[in-house]
Symmetry: D2
Subunit: 353 residues, 4 copies
């Protein structure tokens, strides 16, 4: 298969750099262009790199950043990965779709649109069919979004449990990493030895998105799942990896062992389809009494290409009719660039590209 | 009033050192002796100090640590503040009570005993009467306990809300500071840039203690409060100050404004009695969108003697029939040594000492 | 004495907020106005506060920030404390001096000017006389500067040693706190669990300024001190307090004990004059084997008003003909706002105000 | 080549676990046994793992820890890697050498012995010949040591410069990572947001060891190099990677460019011999103005097996007749287990094994 040319939008940002990382040596895709705002025009990726400890090929580091012009992008690239900030994403992504580009976006702008899939291949792979209802689809242009980073980590195990036991309520509190705020992001003086119990719009996103993703696609539209979803979000001094404390009221009674079993036997589409960025085990249930931890588990996932794509779950336990567990996922891989790359791989598998 | 001589048990530990700090210049109490295990015998407090940035008087720093012998303690001290580790506390505290010493303990050993008050003066001041039912009371000896550090911070605002609106359920996730694990406590390599989603026995304590404290004393025994209490506890890289995310299902509907009003109008016993270590405002409701934060608010509370004794509450908001807020309290002051000192001050006010 | 009205320039910055803190209840000075750029115009100090854990009076928090207009400032204020960024400071401070305002600046712009004292009252109090050589002095306007934060902490003990033993060389490496970079300053992702071995222009400042300060004022100009001064500067994940490792080659041989003695017997002008912000002991020599430490010693200094104004020195030791020690000083108090406030107090004592 | 069986001594410690990591898939060596104190007897490596984020094979994790008995070790293993604590290392390592085992030790106990090489293959490969002078050599037993972690990182670039320009003095200040203190090591409350300017015996080791390593082997003994070496050592809140600020007075004048050139053209023995754990470039000179940094560069080194084995040098600059630079090396790889593994590889190349 000839590799598809892809554009990386917002290439200078935290998510953009992760897109680039994941595209190095990718079996389906090849970087066709790196795009960012005028501020970075003409600089190389190496000049603006803020990601630490990741190795890039010399050639990639020397690639120059270009200013995004939709037609020019469409001439060169079949698809685009978007790490654009929300305020820019809306118009730009629509314009690109209008030019026939398939856009896989990490931005929130289009997530809740009726005709846009809010997609996690492990959770709701069939929702990808929604793109066929988009006006631009005839010309090959469409928009697919991955979920918010905190929602993603939660959605994967929640779907496994929801499918088997149903769900009345989910109460979640997050311990979110700094990279989720981009770069420069959180000032060091605000977070060193501190926790900030506020992330703008984050709780709202979690409380909305989960119902769409766990919803059912029928007759070309998604019927939202229905259960209480209550989120509280905080920033902690951790570089990568969102940890979440989840308390569930299941639809029917089940003990911790049954929940563990549902998590471990979860074998969704990407694993069936052996998508390149899909981890062998999408959910890794840990038995230790103090895991998962960001420093140890953020990069969980095998093989090498899927590092950071597994969701780790630990301390599954019951208390007074509730199920409690902790979950961890890498916010800029699983919950960011990796999610969109997996979405695009699913699109290839579904022959949408 | 002649000052009462007090013993500090476990004086070398994190809580012990906080007891000493609070006793400097205390209007009712005076250090009669510092006690710890044989390992520290003969050393001065200055030799073993692990608390950073707190100023002690020269004389205090030069006080020698003694090995605890109950009779000797009883000869010298009317009361004892205990920062002993749980495994030692049980026997030692009982022995001291047997010798006629009034023990105010931070240890968990006796907290759930039927005849021992689990006391927060702002929450359940009348429970102090339980000490009269203790066998040793006739000789002046008795045991009073303060609650677990995480439970304390929660209990204060919860009581304000519970009294006014009733409560069906409380879901809480904690972001707990390092000093809660004592010294040396958590190894730096385990927590720098990390979160550890496990604190031994902590969730169990929170889920048990809250019902006793919010319970009703009647006919010499406490009838426990009845609502769902579900806790998830984690350690974060913060030195002092436990932050908690709370989600409440109230007994009757109320909006965020009504909850704020119940918190701000809360005027419990210690403030009525003007106890020396009681903060003027026991609950400080913050209006900013990103508070309370450990680095900014752990030491909330006025006057000077009550620094670290106020509970800060912020981001009171509603979502789908639930009330959410964040709370913060200083774990070794409000939730530790300060709690027991306040208990002893209440005992003085109630003429139990 | 009627209090002098002072302007705080750059009041929204890290140094500006420290000026405000030090002016609360100051015996000589009173805030006449808070000034910053247009971006903050009309906001209150409370709106823009980034300093954590410092208490301000309600009235101060409600003071509105104004845009700086030199004539208007001069009408209201006898002196100005400047926490302006270097690029703005140069012109603005000159303009203010031209209007007859005595400017005490933390900015680097005028430090190396021949007619401007680079002043630390403990080190070179006589240099303040340089202001008389400034063109604007006749009208009461002049500029005095405090040194760079890292230079200040070093200059105090270095002067004590230099006076007694002479100096051939000083090799210093710094471990500088985040607050030195202002706010928002260092992005958290750059420094959490990391050290950044670069601070723009910092090494150059240290290598230049020290010679001027330890120089001799004669015939209206400063003859620079002459010894090798080599600095290497790094940023570490610490909020406040610059730690420095110093290696000295003395002018004549001396052992560690003699050096300690010279440091402890150092009794410079501000202490003789009992200036309000001068610490009783300007240099505190620690005997522990692992001090000074930022978390424990940044706020060293008594009385209360002088907290953070003492320089802590520790581990004074010899090795192969060199003297080594560690020193620590609070970078935004001793090495920033506190330095300029002390300079202004010296000016009052010298009847220059 | 049939793989040699090796014993890992102190397998539960930080260095021991790094030995195990490096032995996985090693082309010359194979784990013959994991040894530690009685406390860990019978546990598996997985039970005691404190290293985070490193992947071990399932089989390795399930290997049981044994108690060390020299004869039994000698029966099974040709060589031993020792991560033993200094107080245990001395006797144990001697006993093993007596039994004919070649010991490659990270412990300090034998480093300064006349007949023991203090070996860094990039620095003094010929010193390995010293083992022939050991009494046990006839039976195949001998002891080789790697240097202290801070000394190692310095010795590599220092040797490059020393050989070319000579050296009068080296002043170094360290910024040392937490993993250097082992596990549990530094209590989190001592180091979070702090720097501790003291590491027991570290300065002494640096000041001694460097002269032996840069010394000349002649007639079976090492003549020590002669220049002023002054070290100041501090612990910083970084997990892995010792950063050091170095100031050099060269033997003959040279500018920064010449020094860079000497560092980059340095091609020592391990690279000539293509030892498996030798990085292609032993010294990586960085051109950015703010590197090397622990978070970005601790794991420098290629190929994969040599990650963490390169020394990064940056900010090479002149000031007043001195050369200054910063260097960084991974303290438990390059400066610990990796150093000893490379030593053993050199021994294989020299047919000493």
């Amino acid at each position: 298969m000839k590799k598809l040319q892809v554009a990386v939008l917002g290439a200078t940002g935290m998510i953009g750099q992760r897109f680039v990382q994941l595209l190095e040596g990718h079996p389906y895709f090849e970087i066709g262009g790196l795009y960012a705002s005028e501020r970075s025009e003409g600089k190389t990726l190496g000049d603006v790199l803020s990601l630490k400890g990741v190795r890039f090929q010399e050639e990639t580091l020397n690639t120059r950043i270009e200013v995004l012009e939709p037609k020019a992008v469409a001439n060169r690239c079949r698809l685009a990965f978007s790490g654009l900030p929300a305020e820019v994403a809306k118009g730009t992504e629509s314009a690109l779709a209008g030019e026939g580009v398939a856009v896989f976006s990490n931005a929130a702008s289009h997530r809740m649109r009726d005709d846009v899939p809010l997609l996690i291949p492990e959770v709701n792979p069939d929702h990808i069919e929604l793109v066929r209802t988009q006006a631009t689809f005839a010309n090959g242009g469409f928009i697919t979004t991955n979920a918010n980073c905190s929602t993603t980590g939660l959605a994967v195990p929640l779907q496994a449990v929801y499918k088997e036991f149903g769900l009345k309520a989910c109460y979640v509190s997050t311990y979110q990493a700094l990279s989720g705020a981009g770069y420069p992001g959180v000032p060091s003086m605000d977070i060193l030895g501190n926790v900030v119990p506020f992330i703008k719009n984050e709780e709202e996103k979690m409380e909305q998105e989960i119902h769409k993703m766990l919803g059912t696609l029928k007759d070309g539209r998604v019927r939202f799942a229905d259960f209480d979803m209550v989120a509280s979000c905080a920033r902690v001094p951790v570089v990568d990896g969102h940890l979440e404390s989840a308390v569930l009221k299941l639809g029917r009674e089940a003990d911790a062992a049954a929940v563990v079993s549902s998590l471990e036997s979860f074998k969704p589409a990407p694993q069936e389809l052996k998508l390149p960025t899909a981890p062998v085990r999408p959910i890794i249930v840990r038995r230790e009494d103090n895991r998962p931890q960001p420093a140890a588990d953020a990069l969980a996932g095998e093989p090498e290409r899927a590092r950071g794509m597994a969701v780790s779950v630990g301390r599954v336990r019951e208390s007074k009719g509730y199920i409690k567990f902790w979950l961890l996922s890498h916010n800029t891989l699983r919950g960011g660039a990796g999610g969109s790359v997996l979405n695009a791989e699913l699109a290839v598998a579904k022959k949408l590209l």
